[in-house]
């Protein structure tokens, strides 16, 4: 059973309503890009109890398509599903089709219905958005539509839940065995056809609509004047910029409070853990089972979050690591729990509020219908660098995270445009970079919020300029050609659904926390171990506690790795401890902050009172006595993080979306080279100017 229809008619909303799912919907054509399936229980709603039979039907939500003649890979998939050519994924020909039609735009959306009806499949036409049509004063004669289409026609509202029972029943009647619905074959070219089959179809659809749909001209909100303003040349751009600025302003002003609350919360947890642990070593017989048990519990939690199953291998890993943890001396265990686990996770989770707020507003904007206007306005600018206007929406999402951005690039039809967009997206400032920006801002401009915000804005702009510039270079070199000219439907404005925004945000937050609870936790623990072991021989003595800690770090695995790459990064002004952070952050950027707090925090062990990370970093000196985090080093680090490709999950998604590792590797190389060179220039010129 397939759900078919034009883009943005509410197929996914209907799918969610019927099957009780929460797939992503938005008021923008082309949101659904995968086949999504759900088992649907349908039953007759007849009063006769003998008719209450029910069956399970597999319901498939297809990407939207305008016609059976596809113009993008997703449409191709949808069209082939309808024709029954994708038997490997969906079994044979679909057993039935629900064509979703937009009640506020019946004529346009009926055109596809006519094409689907010609496939001679059992078909139901669901007229969705009936609530919006009512509000706009549109009356539809359903009996007349039924007669003209020759198939069941059911008014529904996916948002309000109207007509769902009737639709279920119709699906049931249609798929009930031993009853074949006679589909109507229609001539695709009626008299007066000029050789364009679409003209004929449109004429047919117009005819149907004329006799069965009445419009009350006085009703309905007309937003034409608003649209005129928002799509105008000058004002449209200003409006777009103000909307974006407002969103970013809201993020930074609203996120402050929950962020400091989270920070305090983790600080408190760290304190509690510290207090709970005994101060004097217990007897091994007592301590070993406790420590092993705690470690096993953490493993169980992480596996549960990540959905990892307890196979032989994963169980073995959990047991071996837990036994090792059980053997740790008490001091090491304390350090692992506080510096490694709590500290590592805290450094990442602080950014949850910002991500949530950004996604909340993006979803609201998408749902209102404004995003299509945004793409329309940006087309003029983006075309110059070889990007389509439609790249605007993925680029906006990429400011939260490159991965949903790359997924959103599927709304771009042509392959060339999509590829260019995917390749430049990770240059935009995603929220994983924010920890690093915040840290550098606090280090360099802690005393001047004004300078700090200029630095933030500059980092965002640098990412954007680099993305546009790269697109331009790609257009001239590796991926020549022009962006496909814009043909984009501008959907009607709709009141955004808060519920939808809320659930999308919740989903995003879950993904993020899952990542923090598993990958980041793992990296933090491995890092802690490699920065702690091997230990210094006990017979050498150091004059101060501090020197001892520093020597211990230098002697550890992480220290050795950092020293190994030191010559490569020395021209950028990084010392070997920063290099440890650079190495670990190739897996995920935000790890830099937790790495630095582990690396430098360990080096500080024994100081009288714990200092904040920033204060600790500010005090670091090089062997020659100069400060490590000079203006030149700070800015060079910032620039490196703006531009470098340091995110394994993004690379995996790039590979999946482009179909080969080639482009993922290309992306990695060009971004890292760009980052290195730009950071080199920044450091060397600032150092020459005396800021080192």
């Amino acid at each position: 059973m397939l759900l078919v229809g034009n883009p943005n008619v509410g197929k996914t909303s209907l799918f969610n309503a019927l099957a009780g799912m929460r797939a992503k919907t938005a008021n923008y054509p082309g949101i659904t890009v995968d086949l999504r399936k759900a088992a649907l229980k349908v039953a007759s709603v007849d009063n006769d109890p003998r008719c209450q039979a029910s069956t399970q039907i597999e319901l498939v939500d297809l990407p939207g398509l305008y016609s059976m003649e596809p113009a993008s890979p997703e449409e191709e998939v949808a069209a082939r599903c309808i024709r029954g050519e994708l038997s490997d994924q969906l079994g044979d020909r679909p057993s039935a089709v629900v064509v979703v039609v937009d009640a506020t735009n019946v004529a346009r959306t009926l055109v596809l219905a006519s094409e689907v009806l010609e496939q001679n499949l059992p078909t139901i036409v669901a007229v969705n958005l009936i609530d919006a049509a009512d509000a706009a004063g549109t009356k539809i004669e359903f009996d007349d539509l039924r007669r003209q289409l020759g198939c069941p026609v059911i008014p529904v509202s996916a948002r309000k839940g109207r007509g769902l029972a009737e639709l279920r029943e119709a699906i049931y009647t249609l798929t009930k065995p031993a009853e074949s619905v006679l589909p109507i074959a229609r001539q695709s070219c009626v008299a007066g056809c000029t050789g364009c089959p679409y003209a004929a179809r449109y004429d047919w659809a117009d005819g149907v609509v004329k006799s069965s749909v009445q419009q009350d001209p006085r009703k309905g909100v007309k937003l034409e004047w608003l649209d005129k303003l928002l799509t105008s040349k000058g004002f449209g751009l200003i409006a777009l910029l103000s909307v974006m600025l407002a969103v970013f302003f809201l993020i930074f002003s609203l996120a402050d409070i929950p962020m400091s609350a989270i920070e305090d919360g983790f600080g408190w947890i760290g304190g509690v853990v510290d207090d709970l642990l005994p101060t004097e070593p217990l007897s091994a017989a007592l301590w070993f089972p406790i420590a092993t048990g705690i470690s096993l519990a953490v493993f169980a939690g992480a596996y549960w979050l990540n959905g990892t199953r307890w196979t032989r291998v994963s169980t073995l890993i959990a047991v071996v690591v837990s036994v090792l943890v059980g053997c740790l001396p008490l001091d090491d265990f304390r350090s692992l729990a506080i510096d490694g686990v709590v500290g590592g996770i805290a450094g990442v989770v602080v950014f949850l509020p910002q991500i949530c707020i950004l996604f909340f507003f993006i979803t609201l904007l998408e749902d209102s219908g404004y995003m299509a206007r945004g793409a329309f306005v940006m087309e003029r600018i983006m075309r110059r660098v070889g990007l389509p206007g439609k790249a605007f929406v993925p680029m906006l999402s990429a400011h939260a995270c490159a991965i949903p951005g790359i997924m959103a690039a599927r709304t771009i039809e042509t392959w060339r445009d999509r590829l260019v967009t995917i390749l430049v997206l990770p240059l935009l400032t995603c929220s994983a970079r924010l920890p690093v920006y915040v840290m550098v801002a606090a280090l360099l401009f802690g005393d001047s919020p004004w300078k700090a915000s200029v630095m933030f804005a500059a980092a965002y702009i640098l990412g954007l300029v680099a993305a546009l510039g790269t697109a331009f270079v790609l257009k001239k070199t590796v991926i020549p050609g022009e962006a496909a000219p814009l043909v984009l439907e501008l959907p009607r404005y709709r009141l955004p659904s808060l519920r939808n925004a809320w659930f999308t945000t919740l989903d995003r937050a879950t993904v993020f926390l899952r990542q923090a609870g598993t990958t980041i936790l793992l990296i933090s623990v491995v890092l802690w171990a490699s920065a702690t072991y091997p230990k210094l021989p006990t017979d050498v003595s150091y004059p101060t506690e501090r020197e001892h800690a520093q020597a211990a770090l230098a002697n550890s695995f992480a220290g050795k790795a950092g020293r190994l790459v030191e010559p490569i990064f020395a021209p950028l002004g990084f010392d070997w401890k920063i290099d440890v952070g650079i190495i670990t952050s190739f897996a995920a950027r935000e790890v830099l902050v937790s790495t630095l707090s582990i690396v430098y925090g360990l080096g500080e062990d024994g100081s009288e009172e714990p200092l904040g990370l920033v204060e600790t970093l500010r005090r670091q000196t090089r062997p020659d006595g100069s400060l490590v985090f000079s203006t030149a080093t700070g800015l060079s680090l910032l620039v490196f993080f703006v531009l470098a490709m340091q995110c394994l999950p993004t690379q995996v998604v790039t590979k999946r979306e482009t179909g080969s590792w080639k482009w993922a590797v290309f992306q990695f190389i060009y971004m890292t080279a760009l980052a290195y060179l730009t950071a080199l220039i920044v450091y060397q010129s600032l150092a020459a100017a005396g800021y080192a």
């Binding site: 305008y66 016609s67 004529a107 364009c196 679409y198 087309e379 042509t414 043909v487 984009l488 501008l490």
Partner: protein, 80 residues
């Protein structure tokens, strides 16, 4: 006397107003993308906002259209 064919007006050069679409000269995918949204021979459309891209209304839908494609659509003015 040779027939002088009046140069036909394309959507790219038109002023805002109502038109009847004469011919779509685009080829390949561009043609498909135009036609299935209803920009095809014989259909009526209304140019709302000029510029690049421009806004065209066809029936109940509004479509953003780049000038490049609009120049491939010839139209004749429709007197209301």
């Amino acid at each position: 006397m040779p027939m002088v064919q009046a140069p036909s007006l394309t959507l790219a050069d038109a002023n805002a107003g109502r038109f009847r679409c004469e011919q779509v000269l685009a080829a390949g995918l561009d043609a498909v993308r135009l036609k299935r949204l209803g920009i095809c021979a014989g259909r009526e459309l209304e140019l709302i906002g000029r510029g690049d891209p421009m806004v065209v209304r066809i029936g109940e839908s509004r479509i953003g259209l780049s000038r490049q494609l609009a120049s491939l659509v010839t139209v004749e003015i429709q007197v209301p």
